[in-house]
């Protein structure tokens, strides 16, 4: 590219889709760009992405978007129906539900991100190690995985929270403990297929150490399916977090966690339906968004 300053879309597109990239960066960016182009063609996937981006934006700009303080109680304005002033109405303590939902995106995001960041890499490494080394390493790691897999997620999460006490951080730990086994299982299955590939044999033939092969060659092949599963899982994590919140075991009041909001609103569900319904819709929409995004990513990254 002789004209460095031209940043019109035509030039960028040509630079990214050239068949002869001139640097590693150009090649990598070109790959990502092609994946983006493929992703864009799927309307459901784009819808999912939009929802997730909206979640991120709401969380980032909550103070600017929420019209009221989510924690401000106004006992003379309890249980008001949705109106121009209170888009989603008010709850039993007069707090604006819309603002609480907007701030609730932060809580949701924190839970989801913390879980995913710990669980994804952990499950991946355990699974890849078990799959590549086999033998007793495989047996030990997989039996540990089996123990965690044997428990129903919500029950195990409840047990942890009961032991550790309620609260946001403990809810995250509890969910994380139950979320990692499937990743390990899947990473192991993929690794067992990959380890027989010629390109892995070729790496051994170059004198690469086992560590190097696993970390630099096996793990990158497992990452795409990990990303897809993580995205799908986020929907499940949100629902479990909401479940914990509903039971009073997650984020404690007055933190505007959506599950807890449904719980406090269930008494009024017939007369003041908005108190429980809007948080419920928020959970549905976000879970759906992650699912659609996961579908779209799977078609692009992990197509079979």
């Amino acid at each position: 590219m002789s004209d460095q300053t031209a940043t019109s879309p035509v030039t960028w597109h040509a630079w990214l889709t050239t068949t002869s990239p001139e640097s590693r960066r150009q090649a990598k960016l070109g790959q990502l760009y092609r994946q983006w182009l493929a992703f864009r063609k799927n309307p459901a996937a784009v819808a999912g992405l939009v929802i997730v981006l909206a979640l991120l934006l709401l969380a980032a700009f909550a103070p600017l978007i929420a019209p009221h303080d989510p924690l401000a109680q106004a006992l003379d304005q309890r249980l008001l129906a949705p109106s121009a002033k209170h888009l989603f109405g008010t709850d039993a303590l007069g707090r604006d539900i819309f603002s609480r939902i907007v701030y609730g995106t932060r809580v949701t995001l924190v839970i989801v991100m913390l879980v995913v960041i710990t669980v994804g890499p952990l499950g991946l490494l355990i699974g890849c190690a078990a799959g590549y080394f086999g033998g007793w390493v495989d047996t030990v790691l997989m039996r540990i995985t089996d123990v965690f897999l044997a428990f129903p997620r919500l029950v195990l999460a409840l047990a942890f929270v009961a032991a550790l006490g309620p609260g946001l951080e403990n809810a995250v730990i509890a969910i994380a403990f139950t979320a990692w086994p499937p990743y390990a299982r899947v990473a192991r299955a993929e690794t067992m297929i990959i380890r027989n590939a010629d390109y892995i044999s070729a790496m051994r033939l170059q004198g690469a150490s086992q560590m190097r092969i696993v970390l630099k060659h096996v793990v990158p092949m497992c990452v795409p399916s990990l990303i897809v599963r993580t995205t799908y899982d986020m929907a499940g994590i949100i629902i479990i977090a909401a479940g914990l919140g509903f039971l009073g075991l997650g984020a404690q009041p007055p933190i505007p966690e959506w599950g807890a909001m449904i719980s406090t609103g269930r008494e009024q569900i017939f007369d003041q339906w908005w108190v429980a319904t809007f948080p419920g819709i928020a959970i549905c929409v976000v879970a759906l968004g992650f699912n659609l995004l996961g579908d779209g990513l799977r078609d692009v990254l992990d197509a079979r």
Binding site: S20, P21, E22, R24, A27, R204, Q206, G207, A208
Partner: protein, 251 residues
Amino acid sequence: MSTNSAINVDKLNVSFGDSHVVKDLSFAVEPGESYGIVGESGSGKSTVLRVLAGLNRDWSGEVDILGKRQPKVRDKAFYRAVQMVFQDPYGSLHPKKTVDDTLAEPLAIHGIRDAEAKISRAMQDVGLPTSFRFRYPHQLSGGQRQRVAIARALVLEPTILLLDEPTSALDVSIQAEVLNLLQALRHERKLTYILVSHDLAVVGHMCERLLVMQFGRGVEEMTAQTLAARAPQTAYAQQLLTASEGFRRAG
């Protein structure tokens, strides 16, 4: 069996569980020679190559390479001397690494400096244009991938190259180019080749001597001239030769 052989195999036996895949195999390859191993599926020919490459540990017998008795697990220095090219051009390159990554990796593992120049040189030697340097394998044709595989094998400057059906998966016209490339490289660098193939014509073209294997045993060793003269001594070798000539309709 001279002690100056590049490769000396004595009474090699390989078993996977209950199946005895290679039985009491012995042969020797001279330095600078191109030695072929021919057989059908189940003959054990690819297994022999994998044992020589150190990819397989379930063997017994004696394997000497470049004068040294080889253990089951090979060290890094071994891989500077012996390299392998695999059959399937679609499986032998890591799908997520560019050509540059693939060629840089062995150099990084062995701490060889001046990687930049060596990579350019390797690509040139196998006839790949520099514009391909940052392509991914799925952006290359089968023949181009095989060239990358050959470049990868040669970038460490080995003296012995093990070739496992290197052109079986390629179109005939591409096969000709790749075989010519392998011949040229062998002459330039004085390499020793062991070429495994099911295709007698390819082995007859590329090799000076060849071994016919069947069901894990070495059946007959002969020169390329004997093969061309259609004068093998064993019935099985004759059978293979006849079969490779094509279909004969009775009457």
